[in-house]
């Protein structure tokens, strides 16, 4: 068995030098776990490092984006501002290459003028001290790191469709806006809460004045709800399999499920964060990683939308104000979608009067990637999108796969034909929520 430290060192080197190497690192760790030797791991890592250095990827760099894609540049700059301690002293696109280059330069210098050996020594000492300083600075910043809510698209139950849909719609809009989470000390908490192991009940939930409940829910789903992040990394395996019934009661009305006036997270979700910390000893932090995402773009040269993407002039803000004020409008006809909401199931997505950012967020769960709105389409739209969902279950035979890949990718084609939009795979820096610690809940 390979020493853990050696394995960790190799993987750390890989992730430091090779961009977007999460899956590669996972593959290597999996194979080491299956009996591959340390020499094999180091060979693979060094080869990957050399490959990355020789063939750098087309990583998005701020200076290029300013010229070509101002929106991306602004987005990236904003995100980097959240990580104030990430400093690339050499402006090298390959993280870590700067330090190696400096070390190499020092060695060459001592070869040319041996009396200058102290330059190399001084460089090493100064670099070590600088590294320690940056690590300390980073840890302090992580402790107060603001959470960024993005891509939150909770699926809602039909029985409380109207109120819940309004919450969902406004939450999705809220999810597009980075908002710092309050510090633990100022975070509200449920007056009474309960966490039980689910004993067979079906998946469901309740969003009511004074009550929040979820049944047969996994910790991963709760984290997604509480922190508004679809990109969750790490954590033990049971967070996706063990199911719980969670209930919290407190002094709040439906406004508690909506973002605050300054874009702060909904009070109830802050309470849920506190509950997860208390009962699951959950600890998380955010990190920015270059991840494969989809850019939602206009597909046609004439910039025309498809027949299933129609403009809506409905005033959702007025409806939202009326709803939280207790003046509920008449319920929609049977099987009709509530106003200003998005819903549906795999294979059919319907939306009434939503913004394009909400559509992008709603598409994300069906693509397994974050979808970023790059359409620049203002206003609200009605959407009725139908596609053939991907099959789940046992892996098909190779011949079945070959046959399936002859057919166009269903969702991508539907988006293009019905909405006049397209999904373009890109790599972009996005926030991921990293689970540092999670334990099964303590008894009530």
């Amino acid at each position: 068995m390979m020493p853990r430290s050696s394995s960790s060192l190799a993987i750390a080197l890989l992730e430091r030098v090779v961009p977007d190497s999460d899956a590669l690192a996972g593959d290597l760790l999996e194979q080491v776990g299956n009996g591959r030797s340390p020499a094999w791991l180091w060979t693979q890592v060094l080869a990957a490092v050399v490959t990355a250095l020789v063939n750098p990827t087309d990583d998005i760099r701020p200076l290029k984006l300013v010229e070509l894609q101002p929106a991306d540049a602004i987005e990236r700059s904003r995100r980097f501002n959240l990580q104030s301690c990430q400093i690339n002293l050499t402006a090298s696109p390959l993280h870590g290459a700067g330090g190696l280059t400096l070390a190499l330069f020092g060695v060459l210098l001592t070869q040319l003028a041996s009396v200058l050996w102290w330059v190399l020594l001084l460089s090493i000492v100064a670099g070590t001290l600088l590294g320690i300083g940056l690590i300390v600075c980073h840890r302090r910043a992580s402790a107060r790191s603001p959470f960024v809510f993005e891509g939150l698209v909770p699926r809602y139950a039909s029985r409380s469709a109207l109120v819940l849909a309004m919450v969902v719609a406004s939450s999705a809009a809220f999810a597009q806006t980075p908002t710092p989470a309050p510090a633990r000390s100022s975070r509200p908490a449920f007056d009474v809460s309960s966490v039980k192991i689910n004993t067979g009940g079906g998946r469901g939930g309740a969003i009511q004045p004074g009550r929040f409940a979820q049944s047969a829910v996994t910790l991963r789903q709760l984290i997604r709800l509480a922190y508004g992040s679809n990109q969750i990394v790490g954590g033990p395996g049971w967070i996706e399999s063990d199911r719980f019934d969670v209930e919290g009661k407190g002094t709040f009305d439906l406004r508690g499920f909506l973002p605050g006036p300054n874009g702060t997270p909904p009070a109830v979700y802050q309470m849920l964060q506190q509950l997860l910390e208390d009962r699951f000893t959950l600890a998380v932090h955010t990190a920015i990683q270059d991840r494969p995402v989809y850019a939602l773009l206009m597909a046609r040269r004439d910039q025309q939308a498809g027949s299933q993407l129609t403009r809506s002039a409905f005033d959702c803000e007025a409806l939202l104000a009326a709803t939280v004020g207790g003046r509920l409008p008449a319920p929609p006809p049977q099987a009709a979608l509530p106003r200003c909401a998005v819903g549906g199931a795999p294979g059919h997505l319907m939306a009434d009067s939503i913004e394009m950012s909400q559509l992008a967020a709603a598409l994300s769960p069906f693509t397994d990637r974050v979808v970023l709105n790059r359409t620049n389409l203002p206003g609200r739209f009605n959407v009725d999108l139908q596609w053939t969902p991907e099959l789940t279950g046992p892996a098909p035979t190779p011949s079945a796969n070959a046959a399936a890949t002859d057919a166009p990718p269903a969702l991508v084609t539907a988006i293009q034909e019905q909405l006049g939009l397209k999904l373009e795979p890109i790599t972009a820096p996005i926030e991921v929520l990293v689970i540092d610690n999670a334990n099964r809940p303590t008894p009530n």
């Binding site: 993987i11 999460d22 490959t51």
Partner: protein
């Protein structure tokens, strides 16, 4: 649209994805090439090729859920797109055409 021809390694990767099926990820792709072709695969080179294929729209990838045995890292599943299948066919056709024009090789393959 101009034909897109694949390098030998890209072709092996595309074929391996099609052979493995919908659950094709890095480990299985490399294993399939190693056991079938007998060629040692460097994972970094495989991912570099996969990234290149994805940028060209020949394969698509999706991220699975992270698992503990992978250090909390998610698998990246790959699928060959329609365009990727067409590129593999074009490459096969081009190679066979060249192959057929070489008398020495034709003689060895009746």
């Amino acid at each position: 649209m101009p034909r897109m021809l694949l390098t030998d390694f890209e072709l092996m990767i595309v074929l391996a994805i099609l052979r493995v099926g919908d659950e094709a990820y890095g480990v299985q792709i490399a294993r399939d090439i190693e056991t079938t072709v007998g060629r040692r695969v460097l994972m970094g080179a495989a991912y570099a090729a996969l990234d290149r294929l994805e940028r060209n729209g020949l394969v698509a990838s999706r991220t699975g859920d992270p698992t503990p045995e992978r250090g909390g890292r998610a698998k990246r599943y790959f699928q060959v797109t329609k365009r990727g299948v067409a590129a593999a066919r074009d490459t096969q056709r081009a190679l066979i055409t060249m192959w057929n024009d070489v008398p020495q090789l034709k003689a060895k393959h009746p």
